[in-house]
């Protein structure tokens, strides 16, 4: 025995000094762990880049450049007969109001002693194209003010606004026929005198979309109303139907092939691409049932079908979490099966069901693709609806569809609004998810 030990060469091994093989193995271990950390860091980095992007690019939409001017509402131009007849005043189109604006600008320039070789007609270019309409609306609402000088705050044109926000520079406007360096000089001078300034823009949150030429006037308000009506439809339809379906599948359904088919079906429907639901909506609701195009009702129906599987899956999970002893106790004191479910199981599962519904709604709120197919884009909804029925049936947009619409217009001023819209959308989503998490934490019972 002793010979045998002596014959084998003694392997150098120490607890303090690692051999080569252990070192490679440990290095592999460190590397492997590092890969994991890198993966997580990559994910978090992407998240922070995304959030940073959204915030920095979108914040601009909440600030807008305004120009303060005193406009003289010339009676000779707006109301030739002088009898303040509203029908006559209405005959003057917005073109008739443009000279008033150029007069006002000219007066301003003269008053502030700004040197510019721009013609008055060109000066108006620094104002939004909606300025004339703004004066006209005012004149129509206050006909007795015609002839007076009234102070207005006009939106500056998107190029001037971009210049103040640093999006537009003198170099970048070389081929831009909407703005000239001289107009930017004028804007600079007005800014120095305090008549042109950036301030918080409420109308981005409350207003409606505007045409391609007026990005500065576009807002999210109307599409928010569209989204609200769609969510109303989803809530009213998906919640009861989803809960009823889950109750049947979880509590009453016999174990047979029909139930199996329904279950497989639901899990598959949850993974069907959303655009397929859009095709379904187009074919069934619009081409077959002749429901109106672009209506929040149709959008809501499509999103209901899309959200149902999510709601069913989460409702079933929370029904399953209610222990059988509750059912047994109810049956034991003489309740029928139906009574035990509706009087005892359902109330106990309610917080879980609510959480699942809110998460399903949040998912539906951010969905865009199906809405494109039922025509909720390319449409400028100008007036908020006045009743629930028109809200459901009259054409409208939805928040994500509105964002897509702006993204498609390929104008940096509209990109800014798209990012700004995303901030509003994300605020809604974060709120809904937080409410869901709080509900779960506070009311979920562990048995």
């Amino acid at each position: 025995m002793t010979d045998a030990i002596q014959k084998t060469e003694k392997k150098k091994s120490s607890l303090l000094q690692l051999d080569a093989r252990t070192r490679t193995r440990n290095a592999a271990e460190t590397r492997f762990k590092a890969y994991g950390m890198i993966a997580i860091a990559f994910g978090l980095l992407m998240l922070s880049i995304l959030v940073f992007n959204i915030v920095t690019r979108g914040a601009g939409a909440y600030q807008q450049t305004f120009v303060a001017l005193e406009v003289e509402l010339l009676a000779g131009k707006l109301d030739e007969k002088g009898d303040r007849n509203l029908d006559d005043i209405k005959k003057v189109s917005t073109f008739g109001y443009t000279p008033l604006l150029s007069n006002a600008l000219e007066a301003k320039v003269a008053e502030l002693e700004i040197e510019t070789d721009l013609k008055a007609k060109k000066m108006v270019g620094i104002l939004s194209k909606s300025a004339a309409a703004q004066v006209r609306d005012y004149a129509l609402n206050n006909p007795n003010q015609i002839g007076e000088t009234v102070g207005f705050e006009f939106l500056a044109s998107s190029r001037v606004d971009g210049y103040l926000k640093g999006r537009v520079s003198r170099d970048s406007i070389g081929n831009d026929k909407n703005i000239s360096p001289a107009q930017l000089d004028l804007a600079d001078a007005l800014k120095a005198e305090g008549s042109l300034a950036k301030r918080f823009n409420m109308s981005f949150i409350t207003g409606s979309d505007a045409s391609d030429a007026r990005p500065e006037a576009a807002g999210m308000g109307t599409s928010m109303i569209g989204s609200f009506f769609m969510m109303l439809v989803v809530l009213v339809l998906a919640l009861p139907i989803g809960v009823a379906a889950s109750i049947y599948l979880e509590e009453f359904a016999p174990k047979n092939w029909i139930t199996d088919i329904i279950e497989v079906n639901i899990s598959n429907l949850a993974a069907v691409p959303s655009i397929v639901f859009g095709i379904l909506g187009l074919a069934v609701f619009i081409n077959y049932m002749y429901l109106p195009n672009s209506a929040p009702l149709v959008g809501g129906l499509v999103l209901t079908l899309m959200t149902l599987p999510t709601i069913i899956i989460s409702t079933r999970a929370s029904l399953k979490a209610v222990p059988p002893s509750i059912r047994d106790a109810a049956l034991g004191v003489g309740a029928s099966k139906m009574q035990s479910v509706f009087h005892h199981v359902l109330p106990l599962a309610a917080p879980g069901i609510l959480t699942g519904t809110i998460i399903g709604l949040a998912q539906a709120l951010g969905e865009t693709a199906p809405l494109l197919l039922i025509g909720m884009v390319g449409f400028i909804a100008s007036n908020p609806p006045d009743s629930i029925a028109t809200g459901l049936l009259s054409p409208n947009s939805a928040m994500p569809a509105q964002i897509y619409e702006w993204a498609k217009r390929a104008d940096p001023a509209f990109y800014e609004r798209a990012w700004g819209g995303i901030i509003i959308l994300l605020v809604f989503l974060v709120t809904m998810n937080t409410v869901a998490v709080i509900l779960r934490r506070r009311f979920e019972r562990r048995w």
Binding site: I40, N268, I279, P309, M338, G366, T368
Partner: protein
């Protein structure tokens, strides 16, 4: 107020009345002693309300769905072929008819003309278009005499249908009301009937899932069949180019689109699978509870962000950044001239990959956690390092589940729409260059079905064939993935 809403209100009032009458009657027939009743009085009331309202409302719903179709079919057969202008279709004429009929309805309801006067209208004597425009109903062109006649027919048949509807539904509700109120006696098992009714409603709700699937399949199948009548199926499945031309004679082949879709999905998976998998391994095997509680929800935020946000991110941020690296010649970072526009396969693929990271990581996390701890303990006890245990024990055991997760992620990538609509471009071609703009199935569905669409041309109908292919593709991937995941889970249960 329309006939339908009046009818619904009448039925609901009758049902409420039935509820109170039946519960009263049940108590009075039991001599005021509710202990003699089989069920609680509430059930007698609910039974009456149920029998009054549900059959009537059900018939009403079916009627409302079926009547427009039947009327339409009748009217369609009366429209002469010569009425269909060149380049138009019967569907467009029919929508004109519908618009005129709706307009006439408004004319009558605002009192501009009486019912009889509208029947005597003549295209020779009255300018129908101006008449309708006066009440706010816009008609595209001048109204042809045949269209007016069809519209009048349409109105007459709709009216007749509505009177029949009232004649059938009102007695139905009354019969249900009378029978159920009379049945409210102590011996009647009201609770059992009501519960059976509720159960039927529950079954109906559960079968809506099947109905949705049937709806999806049939809505796409019928239009796809129409498409294949107009366009050869060999060109669709085996042709080489995609060049829709709204004057007709288009090349509509799915292959270039399929190539773009698969290419983008592969790039997305190349990004998402390693990152997601390593993130899942780190979170489940190495990370302490605090890191896990912090990193996991943050990663999952990526899954909750709407796809339109990723689309804009691709178009405005990632695309231009890639162009700065790979394009712009001397001005670019690498001095290359490989990429000209922001929309490219790589742009869309990268962003889609970011979107899929949390999807892959949370699925893999679940699967890795499902591997029994005893396997790990055995391996570590034999002296393996944690990474050796993961690579040689945990991952092989979790492999089927991970494959399932990757397949689910692939099905997500194939069906994703907004990122590729904004980030991938619109050019259908076979190219291996990831810096080229390419297009996908979902982008083409969106572009063929938005804007002015004519549901008789192959250029529009092809979207349904594309949709059906997409549905079959993703369904196949899901079924395989779910099968693998389910089979694997059974092993350790």
């Amino acid at each position: 107020m329309s006939t339908t809403s009046l009818l619904v209100i009448a039925i609901l009032i009758l049902a409420t009345l039935g509820y109170f009458l039946a519960s009263k009657r049940a108590i009075s027939t039991a001599g005021g002693d509710r202990r003699k009743l089989h069920s609680l009085p509430v059930y007698y009331g609910s039974n009456a309300a149920m029998f009054t309202a549900i059959p009537a409302l059900g018939v009403l719903l079916i009627w409302l769905l079926a009547q427009p179709m039947l009327v339409e079919r009748n009217i369609l057969s009366t429209i002469p072929d010569k009425l269909i202008p060149e380049g138009s279709s019967i569907g467009l004429v029919m929508s004109d008819v519908r618009r005129v009929a709706d307009g006439l309805e408004v004319v009558v309801s605002t009192g501009t003309l009486s019912q009889n006067e509208t029947l005597k209208l003549d295209t020779e004597q009255t300018d129908i278009r101006a008449l309708l425009a006066g009440v706010g109903a816009a008609v595209g062109s001048d109204v042809q005499p045949e269209v007016l006649k069809a519209a009048q027919n349409y109105r007459a048949q709709t009216k007749m249908g509505q009177s029949w509807m009232v004649l059938i539904i009102v007695p139905l509700a009354l019969i249900g009301f009378a029978l159920s109120v009379l049945a409210a006696k102590p011996t009647f098992r009201a609770r059992n009937t009501v519960e059976r009714g509720i159960l039927a409603l529950l079954v109906l709700a559960a079968s809506l899932a099947i109905l949705t699937t049937i709806g999806i399949v049939f809505s796409m199948l019928f239009e796809s069949i129409n498409f294949f009548k107009l366009h050869s199926w060999t060109d669709f499945f085996f042709g080489g180019s995609w060049a829709p031309n709204f004057r007709g004679d288009s090349d509509l082949s799915i292959l270039p689109l399929l190539w773009g879709t698969i290419y983008i999905s592969i790039i997305a998976l190349i990004v998402a699978v390693p990152v997601g998998l390593f993130a899942a391994i780190y979170l489940s095997e190495y990370a302490g509870p605090r890191v896990r509680a912090f990193a996991k929800p943050l990663l999952e935020i990526l899954a909750g962000i709407p796809t339109i946000v990723y689309g804009l991110f691709a178009l405005v941020t990632v695309g231009p950044a890639l162009v700065r690296v790979f394009g712009r010649g001397q001005e670019g970072l690498l001095g290359l001239e490989w990429m000209s526009g922001a929309t490219a396969v790589l742009t869309a693929g990268l962003v889609m990959g970011i979107m899929l990271i949390p999807f892959v990581s949370s699925l893999s996390d679940d699967i890795i956690n499902a591997v029994p701890q005893s396997l790990r303990d055995g391996s570590l006890g034999l002296g393996a390092t944690p990474s050796e245990t993961i690579r040689q024990i945990v991952l092989p055991a979790a492999l089927p589940g991970i494959v399932g997760a990757v397949l689910l992620a692939a099905s997500r990538a194939i069906g994703e729409t907004m990122i590729v609509v904004l980030g991938a471009g619109a050019i259908a071609k076979f190219s291996a260059n990831p810096l080229d703009a390419m297009t996908t199935i979902t982008t083409r569905i969106v572009s063929q079905l938005t804007g002015d669409t004519d549901f008789a041309s192959p250029e529009t109908l092809v979207a349904f064939a594309l949709g059906l292919t997409l549905f079959v593709l993703t369904l196949g991937l899901n079924v395989i993935a779910l099968y693998i995941v389910r089979k694997y889970r059974e092993q350790y249960d």
